[in-house]
């Protein structure tokens, strides 16, 4: 495998772009790496690492400032015609025409790539079978779910049977079931035809599936090699703690995160997983809190990745440690009974009931089209309720929608602040929109700036902030009026692993302060941070409970420690069989 020919190679490649202040920012700084035929190579790194620039250079969409890029032993700039005939490229957001049908998209890209007419019927049928899109040939691409779009985008990139396939963040906005299917297709291609595949991704579990990984950060290659080899470097530094009975894993995780020497700490399958430079400290903490410590845990690629990046990125201390309110079953912040939403004849949400307790983090999970966004929108008062009842902070949404809305803060999936206004101007506007004035407004803005580390950026234009800061600002704005309930719609979609960790720390702090948090997410591993969660599919409730309860649903003798994702996939398959 190691001796397979290079499908793509970068040799000392530098590429910079003019920035807005008249200077240049360097996206790639003298990077050298290669991707072999017959191997899936993962380009892994946080936002701004240079992953997309690297793929665009490989596709000949950009020219390097210096250094050499070789694609299939060809120059992608001088021999652009030949190279483009032999590569398949799927840009971010899949590059599909949403106002054309599945079949029309295929036909267009077949025309553009010069696929012979005689070969088309077989090729189309084959690709549609692989992608599972056969029944949807006449559906507009814009009406497909994220997962189906992804597979159609892949099919369009594969029409000409490329020798090198380049995929730019193929899984953003795609549910876990579809992500697994994509990887099955890719693995099949590599095994069957021995093509080279390069995948840029911020999903570390995907990186783990790659044959080789190139870790990029801020335009530099930090390391290359097989994911397993990376992981091995962290042997002995990874511990798993099983919290004492009654202690929520989240509290233990916060304590671990603050220990000196801790590189990374997350919650996995109900346990706190810690990567640390000093395992004895963690053992001590575990002993003090009555947690059972498991040493000798096999390190994962994610552990190694976080260790690679440790110290390269600034991390904000997150305030607040004490829990203000202990969520109790009889202290209900959001109450939903038989909630339904119909769009014409289509029932997007069917008779959903649940309670969210005050001060808890409540997750709303499910694949695209499950109805979670619609449910969420009804609770925020953004869309009308067809049937059933919903109260938020004691206010009936159907009768006292305006009063209910004053009790909630909302953070939209896309950055929805004013890009041309400064940080503080945005806060001032949103504060006033929620009725804050005078001294109180000034105080709340100051608190928000400090809490979210925005003091030094208070006069920066919001649109020019780095992605992580934009999210901080959005959250600060949503919390200005001290809402009883904070609604977050896919807050971590398209956000890199570093920012995701910081985000959950913040959410944790907000919840500890007594604010109820309702959050939707695609990332099932993040569900571990929720107190309880609701899993939806096809408009109905699939499961409701604590992460532990949900995992128990999938526990079998063969699979004693399932993850939330395993449970989710099992539940979805069961529902599919029943339907």
């Amino acid at each position: 495998m190691i001796d397979a020919p290079a499908a793509l190679s970068f040799d000392g490649v530098t590429r910079s772009f003019p920035d807005r202040h008249g200077g240049r920012t360097t996206a790639l700084r003298g990077v050298t790496w290669l991707a072999r035929a017959g191997v899936v190579t993962g380009l892994v790194g946080p936002d701004g690492a240079g992953k997309t620039t690297a793929l665009r250079l490989a596709a000949g969409l950009l020219t390097p400032d210096s250094g050499a890029v070789r694609v299939l032993d060809l120059d992608p700039v001088a021999q652009v015609g030949v190279v483009r005939d032999r590569i398949g490229y799927m840009p971010q957001r899949f590059g599909l025409y949403e106002d054309l049908t599945v079949g029309e998209n295929l036909r267009l890209f077949a025309d553009l790539q010069g696929v012979p007419h005689a070969a088309r019927p077989d090729r189309f049928a084959q690709l549609m079978r692989i992608a599972g899109l056969g029944p949807f040939l006449d559906r507009l691409a814009g009406r497909l779910s994220g997962g189906m779009k992804q597979k159609l985008g892949l099919a369009c990139a594969l029409l000409k049977e490329p020798d090198l396939l380049l995929l730019d963040e193929p899984s953003v906005g795609v549910d876990p079931v579809s992500r697994r299917e994509l990887w099955k297709i890719i693995d099949g291609l590599v095994a069957g035809r021995g093509i080279g595949v390069v995948v840029a991704t911020a999903y570390l579990d995907e990186a783990e599936r790659c044959g080789e990984v190139v870790v990029l950060d801020r335009g530099e290659v930090l390391a290359t090699g097989a994911p397993a080899g990376f992981a091995a470097q962290q042997r002995g530094r990874v511990l798993e703690l099983e919290p004492a009975p009654g202690e929520p894993p989240r509290a233990l995780q916060v304590a671990c995160a603050e220990l000196p020497g801790t590189i990374d700490s997350t919650i996995r399958a109900g346990r706190v997983r810690v990567v640390t430079a000093s395992p004895p400290r963690v053992e001590q903490l575990a002993a003090a809190r009555g947690a059972r410590s498991h040493a000798g845990v096999t390190p994962s690629f994610e552990d190694a990745f976080m260790a690679q990046l440790a110290g390269r990125h600034e991390r904000l201390p997150v305030g607040r440690r004490e829990r203000a309110v202990e969520p109790a079953a009889d202290d209900v912040a959001v109450r939903v009974r038989d909630l339904s939403k119909r769009f014409g004849a289509f029932a997007a949400v069917r008779s959903v009931s649940f309670d969210v307790r005050r001060g808890e983090i409540f997750g709303l999970l499910g694949p695209n089209g499950a109805g979670k966004t619609t449910t969420f929108r009804m609770l925020c008062g953004l869309t009308s309720i067809s049937d059933g009842e919903a109260t938020v902070a004691g206010r009936d949404l159907r009768r006292a929608g305006r009063l209910a809305r004053l009790q909630l803060g909302y953070m939209a999936q896309k950055f929805s602040l004013y890009g041309a206004l400064s940080v503080v101007e945005n806060l001032r506007f949103f504060g006033r929109a929620y009725g804050l004035r005078g001294r109180r407004l000034r105080e709340r803005i100051q608190v928000g700036l400090e809490e979210f580390g925005l003091v030094e950026r208070r006069d920066d234009e919001a649109g020019r902030l780095p992605a992580g800061y934009k999210q901080r600002l959005a959250m600060a704005a949503a919390l200005l009026h001290e809402p009883a309930i904070l609604f977050l719609d896919e807050p971590t979609s398209g956000v890199d692993p570093l920012a995701r960790r910081e985000f959950w720390q913040r959410i944790n702090a907000v919840a500890l302060g007594g604010t109820t948090v309702v959050v939707t997410t695609h990332f099932l591993e993040e569900a571990e941070f929720c107190d309880r969660m609701l899993i939806m599919a096809r408009g109905a409730v699939l499961a409701l409970g604590t992460p532990d309860e949900i995992r128990t649903l999938a526990r079998t003798a063969a699979h004693p420690e399932p993850s939330i994702e395993d449970a989710f996939i099992l539940l979805a398959e069961r529902q599919g069989d029943a339907a």
């Binding site: 969409l61 950009l62 840009p91 899949f94 025409y97 106002d99 553009l112 010069g114 007419h117």
Partner: protein
Amino acid sequence: MSARRGWLVARPGLGRTLGFLRKETLQIVRDPSSIALALVMPVVLTFLFGYGVSLDAEDVPIAVVLEDPGDAARDLVASLQGSPQFEVVRADSMPAAERLVREHRAEAVLRIRRELGEGLAAGGPAPVQLLLDGVDSNRARLIGSYVDAAIGRAAAIRRLRGEAPGVPLVTAVPRTWFNPALRSTHFLVPGLVALVMTLTGILLTALVVAREWERGTMEAVLVTPLRPGEFLLAKLLPYYALGMGGMLLASGIGVTVFGVPLRGSFAALFAISSLFLLASLGLGLVISSSVRQQFVAAQASILAGFLPAFFLSGLLFDLGSTPPAIRVISHVVPARWFVEASHTLFMAGDIGAVLWRDAGVLALMAFVLLAIARRKTTTRLAEDRA
């Protein structure tokens, strides 16, 4: 069928262009807003200009204060009443007449004083007082000249009856060429055609390429073997067809519904419209390949395309009466040349000297703009995008 396919495979460029062209056509057919802009708007605009916008004054309400009960005064009033331009409103006194003007119930006041009969009888000057609402100065001048004409007619009648002595020594007999009825619709509709084609050519085209950038489809297309020339051709053809469709609709309605003459040949109109449309499409493509955002593309199209076509082309305002600087600037506006050609074709005929010059300038502009668009369309992403 298979023979045709074999032929396509032998010419991959043609296959790519046709594929992209088919996609473009499907998108237009499925997007009601582009159809509305290209085909419905010309119809609406033509009717709006035809019925609603008129530079002529008709049925102007004029208040008449009749202080002289004599025959001469009555003849004058009768002459006003008989004219299609006026709607006579009687007022008892000057204050009453002035109130009518303030309340917008009259646009002019004609005061016929007691001295009229006496003055005429004495063979001396016989003044009447005319008050005009000067808010719209052009219209005031127009109304003034209509009143002059009515007074002239009244005097002529009196002379015919032998009541007035003397015959003027010289009389001018005006004769209007090209637009004998002096109907402004005949002037407006040919200019409107320029406006319609500007909107389709620049705005629609600028939007569609910017849309490809915004939606991320451009990147997917760029990595295919499609060449820039093929891309441009496939973008040009459908919008050329739409633009010409709009032109034909607007001129067809002008000719059939509003009786605008087409004195030149249809072939010449078609040819010069094509050149103008190509220049507009070229400008649209230049805009869209430069800005890459639909919102900015729309703004740039309005500023660089629509406003100059409206104000600097002579379709509404005579360029001859604008300051020299504006007149010089207007030479770089394609619509200026097309409006000149269009006015000539509709109202005068195939005047070779004018049309060849206009066509030549438009062809040059089309060539330059399309060449710039071709240069700006590459198979790579621009320098400044990460």
